[in-house]
């Protein structure tokens, strides 16, 4: 087990090295540079040249990459060209927002999707089944920004039930520790701040959950239907087990395996798919920030954020691999 972990972590090094080269070349080959975003319509070619020279962007790309790598090896990701803050600081201030949003969406998708998919399968061909199948089809098709707009129009603008933007009411002056606002509120016992942060997560959470929810409903339904037709279910029923025991011990547990795999795949998508949701809900996260940074050609932010996310993805995948052996004893990690 230990050797497995070490080996996987060592594999990370060449992977990150390759990624950094590809990313660096790709980003720097994009037309234009940060100087245009800095100067806007006020820029003259001379001013732009001066800024490029100052940022070292007029040097050969290998020299620039060398400079980047030297900093990377010192674990220094540099500073954003636009905000002049350290890239790691920017990341730590924004990533928690994205994680909170993704977790909320995942909770909504799972809490609603699995029961709904299960019920739909149990009542196959009945009204609930038709409604949930049609509903999940709409959930997959509907564009997130449109759903967000409608949700805000109904629940924020008209009913004033939920806030339409941001992560927390700024007048609360909540204490920040981890930048996970819900967690911070609980840690500092600022219950109103935690409740307000949860409250701000509801509408964006629903918007972001729409697609995963629909997928989970469909996968659960299909999986349960498949398991219901299996021999061991009939055997269990024939043995005289109560319906409840059959459902819980046999049907649900076996049906959950493909669902769990799907949820794992969806999680990665939630982190990267939050760009639109973050933008329309003015939610401070990495998605919207990366999108801005691309249009501003903020190379250090893009390089830094993507490298950090890559490391996180590898680590999460490692955890998932390790967890397989816990869930299913037949899987052995070597």
């Amino acid at each position: 087990m230990f050797r497995f972990i070490v080996r996987r972590l060592l594999q990370l090094i060449p992977a990150l090295f390759g990624l950094s080269i590809l990313l660096f070349i790709w980003l720097h080959r994009l037309p234009g540079g940060p100087e245009t975003a800095i100067l806007g319509e006020r820029g003259t070619p001379e001013m732009r040249a001066a800024i490029r020279q100052n940022l070292g962007l007029d040097e050969p790309i290998l020299v620039q990459y060398g400079r980047f790598m030297r900093r990377m090896l010192r674990l220094d990701l540099g500073s954003s060209i636009a905000t002049k803050r350290e890239v790691t600081t920017e990341f730590l201030q924004r990533f928690p927002g994205t994680v909170e949003l993704a977790v909320t969406a995942l909770i909504i998708a799972i809490a609603v999707g699995i029961p709904l998919g299960y019920l739909a399968a149990r009542r196959r061909g009945k009204l609930l089944d038709h409604v949930s199948v049609a509903g999940s089809l709409i959930g997959v098709c509907i564009p997130v920004f449109f759903l967000a707009y409608v949700l805000k129009a109904i629940f924020a603008e008209n009913l004033h039930l939920f806030p339409s933007s941001g992560r927390q009411d700024p007048t609360l002056e909540a204490t920040r520790i981890t930048n996970f606002f819900v967690l911070d509120g609980l840690m500092t016992r600022e219950w109103d701040a935690a409740a307000d942060a949860i409250w701000h997560l509801v509408l964006p959470g629903i918007a972001l959950a729409s697609i995963p929810l629909a997928i989970i409903v469909r996968i659960t339904r299909a999986s349960v239907l498949e398991v219901l037709g299996e021999d061991f279910v009939r055997t269990a029923e024939a043995k005289g087990l109560t319906e409840r025991v059959v459902r819980q011990r046999h049907v649900l547990r076996n049906a959950m395996l493909p669902v769990a795999t799907t949820i794992g795949l969806l999680t990665g998508g939630l982190l990267s798919g939050a760009v639109l949701t973050e933008t329309v809900f003015a939610f401070s996260g990495i998605g919207a920030f990366i999108a801005d940074s691309i249009s501003q050609r903020d190379y250090p932010v893009l390089m830094g954020f993507i490298m950090i996310i890559a490391v996180l993805f590898v680590l999460v995948n490692l955890l998932v691999d390790l967890s397989y052996s816990l869930i299913d004893p037949r899987v052995r990690v070597r």
Binding site: G40, P45, K84, S165, A282, R297
Partner: protein, 554 residues
């Protein structure tokens, strides 16, 4: 008894949600009363830096305008120069030394005194800047206005316009310049020339820009400790929540104290999201209202303010890009071909006007009798025929993915303009480009473009900031060389007597419209909106809205 568990689970989730809803709703309701002296204002982007000496983006300057004050400032709701931290100012006979009489009894937010010495500390800080402080993206407005520094570290930097500062007594300060310039004193109203507390500048090492040229790091002063004399004090900047909080300066003496106790700027980059946040009560005002939202929001009772137009949208004709455009008759034909009134009526926000010259009429030097080119298809065709350009094809660049105060919908503008050009027989090859970086790069350099449109929003109330910026030297955007015109600009810039300079500006406007390097199209008034119960803010053409006067109607 079928499927009781899922039902129970769903019910539990629903109850929990309702419980949290009730709890949070009551919180919001409770704080509603005390929020009447707290205004949350929606802005389109995060400020970049809190030290306005280092800023050029509108959001940083908006914050600076509440926290800091300048020696002179624009009149409220206008562009004329009025007293700020200085009560009066006079040039000497040469026009190069200006004596400012300062207000007395003013204190910085850290309790130290504002005086002539403090003014000199600030000017010397900018002038004596070294190292990274000389980077063009670190001190953009100083370099734009003053040119260079005491010791220029880059070859392309010009000699500094600023020469020295002398504190004659506590309330009298002399600013000396190397030559007469139209920029003095008008440019000193820019927030970048805000006066900071010398103690705070020193304590938080405001000039110690860290890192390297490609990895600039601002000192803590610029991110956490801006210390001015303004009606609001900086309180906190919550980057993770995209909000910046200011609180009332209780010791403010320059004018009436702020009516709001707390002013919060909240970043909502999406225009639609800002509108929805206003309607749902998250914010009590926002800037950069979409032109299509002006009338509906007004109809709903929101307090919509229209800024006097302080911008220009123009069609540029690149004489180097296409030799045919070097023929004045072709340029005139294009000007006659454009139905600018129809464009203004159909595509620009209410209150927009057709432009007759490259600056708005709110600035001294505007000329009511410049040559004009009213929509005339026949005349356009005739001029093209005379110029032998009946079979003209023009590469017309237009930007995508952008709205600017002077240009809310570039694609619509392009379509109308190109239809007009086609109507007089000019073939148009439309070239859409992404605003940044492609469009800005293409239009300001090279010879790949024939026509494009672009605009300018004035920084301060002086004609040179409009027409001088565009036409006082050879620029790739226009591709012409007109030494006589450039000389006249130089003469205007170095005329100390303001009345004489305004006359020269009028002459310049006439000359420019005669030479017709491009076609001025329109001036658009940007809108800013406040909640139904918020009053007291006066819209400013320079976006110098003063939140100190904002209050909630009881």
């Amino acid at each position: 008894m079928r499927a009781p568990r899922p039902k129970v689970a769903i019910a539990a989730v629903a109850v929990a949600a309702l419980a949290v809803a009730g709890c949070a709703e009551s919180d919001r309701g409770d704080s509603g009363e005390s929020q009447k002296d707290t205004l949350v204002f929606g802005v389109a982007g995060d400020p970049k830096v809190l030290d306005p000496s280092l800023a050029s983006d509108g959001e940083s300057l908006r914050v600076a305008r509440q926290v800091f004050e300048t020696l002179v400032r624009p009149e409220e709701g206008g562009t004329k120069i009025t007293p700020g931290l200085a009560e009066s100012w006079t040039p000497d006979s040469t026009g190069t030394v200006w004596t400012f009489k300062l207000r007395s009894g003013v204190k910085f937010h850290d309790g130290t005194d504002f005086n002539a010495e403090a003014v000199c500390v600030n000017f010397n800080r900018w002038y004596n800047a070294t190292g990274l402080m000389q980077s063009p993206d670190v001190t953009p407005y100083w370099q734009d206005v003053m040119g260079g520094f005491a010791k220029n570290e880059r070859e392309d930097l010009p000699e500094s316009l600023f020469k020295s500062c002398a504190a004659k007594d506590a309330t009298t300060v002399d600013l000396a310049f190397t030559r007469v310039s139209s920029k003095v004193p008008a440019a000193l109203m820019l927030p970048s020339f805000s006066i900071h507390s010398p103690k705070a500048l020193d304590e938080f090492k405001a000039s110690a820009i860290g890192g390297s040229a490609d990895n600039v790091q601002y000192p803590s002063y610029a991110m956490e400790h801006p210390t001015g004399t303004g009606p609001f004090k900086f309180k906190s900047w919550d980057v993770a929540n995209k909000t910046l909080t200011l609180e009332r300066n209780e010791d403010y003496t320059t004018g009436p104290k702020a009516k709001l106790k707390t002013l919060i700027f909240k970043t909502i980059s999406d225009e639609n999201a800002r509108k929805q946040a206003l309607r749902s009560g998250d914010i009590q005002g926002y800037d950069l209202v979409g032109p299509a939202d002006v009338e509906p929001l007004k109809g709903e009772g929101f307090n919509m303010l229209t800024r006097p137009a302080f911008n220009i949208l123009y069609l540029a004709m690149n004489q180097k890009g296409n030799p045919k455009l070097a023929d004045i008759k072709v340029r005139q034909a294009i000007a006659y071909a454009l139905n600018r009134q129809a464009l203004v009526d159909s595509k620009l926000p209410p209150g927009a006007k057709v432009a007759t010259q490259f600056m708005p009429d709110t600035v001294e030097g505007w000329n009511s009798s410049v040559p004009t080119y009213d929509y005339n298809v026949e005349k356009a065709k005739q001029l093209l025929a005379e110029a032998g350009a009946t079979n003209l094809t023009l590469r017309f660049h237009y930007p995508t993915e952008v709205t600017r105060p002077y240009m809310p919908n570039p694609k619509d503008i392009f379509e109308l303009l190109s239809t007009d050009l086609q109507a007089v027989g000019i073939k148009v090859q439309g070239i859409p480009l992404k605003w940044t970086p492609d469009y800005l790069n293409a239009t300001s350099s090279g010879s790949a473009h024939d026509l494009h449109f672009l605009g300018w929003t004035g920084d301060y109330g002086d004609a040179y900031n409009f027409i001088g910026t565009m036409f006082d030297r050879q620029k790739a955007e226009w591709g012409f060389n007109n030494p006589a015109l450039f000389a006249l600009f130089k003469q205007a810039d170095s005329t100390a007597d303001s009345a004489a300079r305004f006359e020269l500006y009028k002459q310049l406007n006439a000359e420019v419209m005669k030479f017709l390097p491009g076609v001025p199209i329109s001036h658009s008034p940007p809108a800013i909106v406040f909640g139904k119960d918020v009053t007291g803010v006066k819209a400013s053409p320079l976006t110098d809205e003063r939140f100190a006067t904002a209050e909630f109607k009881s």
